[in-house]
Symmetry: D2
Subunit: 355 residues, 4 copies
């Protein structure tokens, strides 16, 4: 039961717990996240909204804070014990990262926590103490279109995938799926702590930037209902991509853009990954079905755009360019190529070495 | 109860009953329609397949006939009585159209019928006598992915919408929805006999061509399951457009292309239109949500491509060009414009004059 | 196109259009039908509520009127033309039934109409003129749990099935399904005007009583969501039976009881019946799956209880007893018998003579 | 990251991995589990079937072995490391339980394992080494009605709940929900290792007996489709209870009985429970919605019947009677009472102390 390699070196991360976003117009953001998506308000102040999903019992999964420039201020992970916050602080200090401790928490509803700028430039937070609130699982009278049940994951853009993966494995994440090419270039990777496909995805590109935050629903019709409602409200232009079925993760998905351009994914039905020998699924970057199982094209904005992230003083972290080829470049247009059925293969396809 | 205007002049059409398609490779077509879409084989001969949907009790909804060039050979409507076949024959003779009568039916399972080349150039058939077969509604043991329950409609491409609509109204069809612009140009119209949104849609374009045949399922997840299965079989490239929600008709849809390029729509959940004063819904051609309620773009091939149709001797009917502007031309690219929220309107949108 | 047998003798009925119920507590009824079931208020007065479904364009599908004793005051059918109201009046006079004409309509939103006490003792109304209102099909922002789209049918309890069926066939209804035994006793029958399984069902029992009013949704999950919401509001005791799948009609169903005990069915996905030779499906009364395809038992109250109906003066119509055996009596308890798989049949079952 | 209390004393259990059932007619069991429920055959021998769910990558989730008397031969848990098998063996020896080690595994596809008769009398197995097989998540071409994705949990009948709970907590399980009364009697408890509501439920009653094995699907319509298919095959009598929504766990459920009477649950959509301070939900035994959120009654057989379990020599373990009151006795019939809305509570109900 003891993983000796990690004793005293890394915090025991439970899951992605909440994200703090800076939004330029809090009222517009409130309408988007509360009125359109049905997230529940735990607490509201003049400049901050604390929102949670329907099955959450900790204080919040999303903090919206009014500010001059839209950005991601924190990606916060819950750890197993109060002591794991200490381990996190020590771990990132050892890595040479800026760290900051707040015994009373950085936001309402959360206690002792540490924030760091991680080796990839992302503002990560680790916390355990948290205010409990009512889990609204059974409160169907409060469920709205979408019925978003859980915060599922964040997706981050970073230039250097192998280094990013190694760093996350060092704090206990495990890769469940990735996208590569035959030259060994990695284009994206999915890593988990809780036993779903991911708590964190890394997408290759200029970064650090936050690609999206994903909330999980239970059934695909709940996601379709969000689309229908957005159409009725003449807000269909906030649908960026989907709905569709991912190849990676097998989840049913929809990508929205909030009024500041922050990307939100609605997501349902990936699979259990909790065994230590869970097979990694590797997708060929030229496989047309890797990002949409039905072969529908990825829109260019989905590859190109993402949210700035802030350092511990609230300043945007400058981006570094990706040196490896970009996924969009090798799969779209004249220079890329892709396939639905690979030549010369009996089944026309091989889903990585998943056994 | 008597519509005197139509006595003795037009047949009483019940519904779109079946379509006969010429396919270049019957085995490939069989795999598509039977193995992938789950249509049920009523009868099979070396060069012809008679297929039906799960809730059909007449012999077939689709005839696939092997032939040198893919085309639509007949669009067949069931009429209320045997005498309505006589009325149909007389009606089209009066219109000056070529007609041909077959007392024993043109295809297996159907009795006395008349085929005509209608004023728009389409091969229409009218029949009443038909062999009954088992309605498989309750035979869930035979239902396959998709669970296609009914033939719903055909969509036809024709250059001249107003004339086409007037002709169809003359044989008892009623418009339920249409797409127009502020100059009075009609781009498409939906017309019904059975009380759904349509048995026939007319789409403006060079024609006569068959745009698609649509089969109805009961629930949207059944259509999603078809997508998932096509992905698993590495046949996702037969998905042309969707899945999505139509603005027009409000139906959930998916467009596929069969191995010959014939377009098939899977369709579910439009609305009851059976009252004589059923409100017509008119959509602005520049309304982004008219063809996809979620604002997802229509792929160019969907506008451009359609199946040739055959005359009574089996020869392709030459196309006439559309003189009015094309919908794709006025809505896509530099010259078109469209909107999600119309300027200056309180709700940002008006759904035609549907009251 | 002319059905000579019916010229000048019977009105051309389009569909079941609305039901008027007397309720003892209008506020409680409003909470049930509007807050719980999501019906839309077209008009509200101190003692009357006019409600409609989401896809309706006529003024209302349900009138709730405050009164001392819960009862059904009218079952109203829409007819094709204004003249059909005259035909209806003449037809029922010829049948010797009490009739009453109201040029301005009996309720708000409806014009010239006739009410009758039909040969079975039910208060039927026939109307054509009606105020149009917005069809809310696309207004997903107004859809609530359940998303009830249409009024589908009424189910009436009457002692004498064969006479009732003959009378309804005389005004143009057609039987689509029935339940019988091998001695020729009919226990229930389903009859339609619009091409679904029914506008009217007759259930054998002491009558005249209204068994239930049914509203149609599009997908089964919408009905499950009603159950979940009733649970959350601690109103699960208004669920009387289901959810389940009917054998008869193949529809997915749920039966609720309103605060006065009026029974409401939520219903989805029966099949097209519009062809004149639509096969009748006959079920054996001893077939366990006839009323629930999954074999779940019918609760006794469902057989025993129903709403009183009013005559043209608003007085309850006395009940006559059923002489034939009751379905509950022959299928439940010591004297009844039933089967899931009939002995000696190859498939263990035969779905009537539906071909 | 170190739970010192458990070092060297208990195995690190990942999840319920498989169940071995003895069946009297292997062909009939094969038809039930493979043809009706769509489980996938990993391996088949003349007297044994190894079956798995669609998203499983270990060799099997269910072993069906032909034998004279239907019974549960093993409930097998996967542990994190090979060393955890040693810990399990030592732990149960310390508890004074019979243990048996099989370096080559007790069944095909599994390596080194230990079987024990646990303090409650159940045959538990602990294993780590296992043969990997293809995860069929993306193989929608192989998915059948039901699309059972995972083995979710087992439910065990035991006389003494508090002792049973304490013992399971001793090997690392945590209670997520339970059913109690105001006198402190516990009627049932749900305990988890993987972060769902449970891997093991304990139900109070004469035992040890296996109440049921549960497989998880992704969407509720997949469970409804199983019901429809069972109806079509005239096998509806294998439906014992449901479909419905549980109060406990909030999952959508269906209970079936296999040809030997072994109970199988189809289950979908409980919630994440992985945080150490996950709130326990306590239900009042008199709350009508605890076992069915819609208030539908539990059938008596569901309370009364369960499968015998075998000891390490294959002999049935004798049952001990429950001393505490039985749930059925206190909730059904003249002596029990229950409520939908508790008197005197503002919301009419309180969902335990879940905060």
């Amino acid at each position: 039961m003891i993983n000796t390699a990690m004793i005293n070196t890394a915090p025991d991360i439970l899951r992605c717990g909440y994200v703090e976003l800076v939004v330029s117009d809090l009222a517009a953001a409130r309408e988007f996240y509360v009125d359109l998506l049905g997230l529940v308000i735990t607490k509201e102040t003049p400049d901050t909204l604390y929102l949670r999903t329907l099955e959450e019992f900790i204080h919040h999964n999303l903090v919206l804070r009014a500010g001059p420039v839209p950005a991601a201020a924190a990606i916060a992970f819950r750890v197993r014990t109060p002591e794991d916050v200490d381990l996190a602080e020590a771990h990132y200090r050892d890595l040479g990262c800026p760290t900051r401790r707040a015994a009373g928490g950085f936001v309402d509803g959360v206690g002792d926590a540490v924030r760091v700028v991680d080796p990839l430039g992302f503002p990560y937070e680790f916390f355990h103490q948290v205010e409990h609130v009512e889990r609204l699982t059974w409160r169907y009278d409060l469920h709205r279109t979408g019925s978003l049940a859980r915060l599922d994951h964040v997706n981050q853009v970073t230039p250097d995938l192998p280094a990013g993966i190694a760093y996350l494995e060092g704090i206990g994440f495990r890769v469940t799926e990735d996208i590569r090419d035959s030259d060994g270039v990695t284009y994206a990777a999915w890593l988990r702590r809780k036993p779903t496909v991911h708590d964190v995805a890394l997408t290759g590109g200029d970064g650090p930037r936050l690609h999206h935050v994903a909330f999980a629903a239970h059934e695909s019709h709940q996601i379709l209902a969000v689309c229908d409602r957005l159409g009725a409200l003449r807000r269909s232009d906030c649908i960026e991509r989907g709905p569709g079925r991912h190849g990676v993760s097998n989840a049913f998905y929809l990508y929205l853009r909030d009024p500041d351009g922050h990307r939100v994914e609605l997501y349902t039905q990936d699979y259990y990954t909790g065994d230590p020998d869970n097979p990694v699924v590797t997708w060929d970057v030229h496989d047309n079905q890797r990002r949409d199982w039905w072969g529908n094209p990825v829109v260019p904005s989905w590859y190109a755009e993402a949210s700035a992230v802030l350092d511990l003083d609230g300043n945007p972290v400058p981006n570094r360019p990706r040196a490896d080829p970009a996924e969009a470049a090798v799969t779209i247009g004249a220079d890329g190529f892709s396939y639905t059925r690979a030549e010369g293969e009996e089944r026309g396809f091989k889903l990585g070495d998943q056994v």
